[in-house]
Subunit: 345 residues, 3 copies
């Protein structure tokens, strides 16, 4: 619990208004309750600032406008809020190095210095965990799986046999790395014969994988998630997909088998791509959009079958006018009919 | 195993047809097998009733129509079926209060009276569980997490550090409460810097959360799921989202960060909303629809970029006629060309 | 590590080029690195073959074209690659029959011959596991659940109370079989009353269920997944759904409650169906498509509200021309206006 002035001090801010009020929590402008500290992210939210119940709000040093509460003027409200949030965050006990007695660790497992294997983890034969890595609890590492230095795997993560994670990889609860790819051959009698999925998943350094996300092992060779890739929750990555460096995918994205994403690609929430296509470096695919053919580097694609953004905007705008258009065409037909009759007279 | 007449007695029903037949299971009209009891939910299914293989069917007291099997006339077939299903359901052993010897419970954990901590659960320091709550098996409760009275967490649920669940909350298997929000800042060299996610998730009373659903912790402050909210499977709730009381979301819904849903909102299957928008009280968003701007209270939105329902219906109907429209416009152009030539003669 | 000629021998292939090169991995043509073996799946990828960094490529016996690396000519490159992948795959330790000492197995559980109950599994009262089945690790089998012969459940799978899996069923990590269906009744005060979900899930033989997929228990009776069905990751199957034999569903499909899918249906990635509809035998529903009414057997449906494929293609093509169409109609209106003025002169 800190006062407005104590918080301003943390971030080199200048207070306007009641500096002695106590801050009891942090919240966005619209949902703030009395005692909360909030921030003004952009001018778009100026109206919310006038209405907020927050006790104090972080604003840019040069901000001009109405407010009903104390202001803390700072160079960068966003960065200041992060700093304050970290300072006020509860001090959770640090994970301690060592293997919890309830963990089940095979004889041939190799653990680096300072590794924490939390309670009820299962590490099968041949697993290697790099120094400083943390397996929080109830993780499963299949035979021969490798986890790099300083990586953190939260509860209920599965890393299947032979899959490899680099250094500083953060995997959230329930993610599955290396389940079988979806590969079957249709038989004459209608049944599906399974195509063996004997490849692995290879994840680079500094990757983040969201909760309950699934990354399938390759049919053969490797499904690749390169360095610096950030993947949100409930995302599906098919077998033999390659995701280039620093590509980011929001929640519920799905990438079908053997598709290649370049570097720095951004996939919006619930966007997707069919199999065997290539999405070029730095392309942006809008939320809910489905990529059905190759995408040029740097392109911005939007839509059900994703199209270049400007084209899609024109089409969407035209679609809005379709009911009107039908009426207009009908009227035209009548007019022409009249004209024809007139000229036939 | 009960006879048709014994079942009719359970629900104060009147039998027509063979009252002595034995009922061996329950099923919908179309999939019923001999020996099954079924029900007629609405007139829409009257044809299925004529064809059903069920041994007996629950119908409204005043129902008139053909059937090939015994009927049980009741005031409310739907409610009667629920009553019968409960009566015939197998008697699973009750969970017993106490901490299973295989659970891993930190010293500072506080358990209310009658709490059941099932096998292989992990409760970190500072966790509090209210009286009568049940952790079925293999649940993970991070440091400082709180679960309210009479809540039930099924297997493999994660409640991350600091997150709070109210009373009578039901969480299905594999759900993840409090994974990190998806927040990164783009660096000049193309890499993503992680924005710390130090807030929590706060879930009210009487909430249900579906299997493998993910609710992200706030960047700062709280992601809020208010009292009475019902969330289906594989749903994604982003950081700092606020979901109002009694709002319901069907499977695979996704709500992006900082969006606010009012009370009594209904989100259809796989619908979604982009970040930073507000959906008003009692609004209805159709299945597969994506909300891209604020929605008025009580509005009914449908479509890829969700539009008011009536407008969307007109647009969809017009789209159906697009191929025809193109032909008509082409014909018009020819006609006009003819007219012009005629008048130019 | 094998040479090109050793690998050719494995699959009765004929080598062209450097037969002594060492093969160190397997990869697709586009992502292959030096030392990799790759394959040419179809003529579509002939350009990638010319550019590949692979050391050798499997091609059809009669293939003609440019390549920069060794070729291995075989009757069926696809089948040959599977054969080679299996031969080169690391030899993971076989699961051993028996109950791991950390598993929690209730007294009344019945295990067939040769069953493997891996570490940290929980088997509640009345569970039955058929001979030769494998529960890899940390699986949860609720009271009375049954798993058939030679089935394999990977880590963190939940099979809830009373649910039944047939023989040779393969379930990937984190899948949840038998969570409650999403059934609530709206109360006058806005709250939702839960409709008890007391049915089960019944899964046939030779079924595959993907990672983190959820199949809900029936409200009453059974949710049915018939023999030979293949389901990918993150799929949602609602309560009382019936899925016919050999039907296949790609990732993120969602089927709402009480819908019936026939035999041999194919659902593309992220396609779905609303509740209470019937999809006929061998129908194909395209990726991202949503079925909103009954689908005839053998039909091919595509689109937001799925339409027959040919109709949808015409509509999509017309939509592409909408902006142009609006211009054309505007021009027509001007022309007609001119004509009218002329004829009025």
């Amino acid at each position: 619990m800190k006062t407005v002035s104590e918080i301003a001090e943390l971030v080199d801010g200048v207070v306007e208004g009641d500096a002695s009020a106590t801050i009891t929590g942090l919240a966005g402008l619209r949902e703030a309750r009395p005692g909360d500290l909030s921030l003004l992210m952009s001018h778009k939210y100026a109206a919310a600032l006038a209405d907020t119940k927050a006790a104090a709000v972080l604003v840019r040093a040069d901000w001009q406008g109405q407010s009903s509460c104390a202001l803390i003027r700072v160079a960068n409200p966003d960065a200041a809020m992060t700093q304050i949030a970290l300072a006020l965050a509860p001090d959770y006990p640090a994970t301690e190095p060592g293997v919890h007695p309830t963990a089940v660790v095979a004889d041939s497992v190799v653990l680096g210095e300072g590794v924490c294997v939390g309670p009820l983890c299962v590490l099968e034969e041949g697993v290697e965990v790099g120094k400083g890595a943390v397996l929080v609890a109830s993780c499963f590492l299949g035979a021969g799986a490798r986890v790099g230095e300083d990586s953190v795997l939260h509860a209920h993560v599965s890393v299947r046999e032979g899959c490899r994670l680099g250094a500083r990889v953060l995997v959230h609860d329930g993610a599955v790395i290396g389940g079988d790819g979806f590969g079957f051959e249709h038989q004459d009698d209608g049944r599906w014969a399974k195509i063996p999925q004997v490849g692995i998943v290879e994840i680079g350094d500094d990757v983040e994988i969201g909760a309950n996300t699934t990354v399938d092992r390759a049919r053969f060779g490797r499904t690749v998630i390169a360095n610096g890739v950030k993947i949100d929750n409930l995302v599906q990555i098919g077998h033999n997909v390659h995701v280039g460096e620093n590509t980011a995918m929001a929640a519920q994205v799905a990438i079908a088998g053997s598709t290649m994403l370049g570097r720095g690609v951004q996939m919006g929430g619930r966007s997707g791509a069919i199999g065997h296509v290539t999405i070029g470096d730095n392309a942006i695919v809008g939320g809910n959009s489905a990529v059905a053919k190759d995408v040029e580097p740097g392109a911005m694609m939007v839509g059900f079958m994703a199209r270049p953004h400007m084209k899609w905007k024109r089409i969407r705008a035209a679609e809005e006018r379709l009911p009107e258009l039908l009426h207009r065409v009908k009227k035209l037909e009548q007019l022409i009919e009249e004209l024809k009759q007139n000229s036939g007279d």
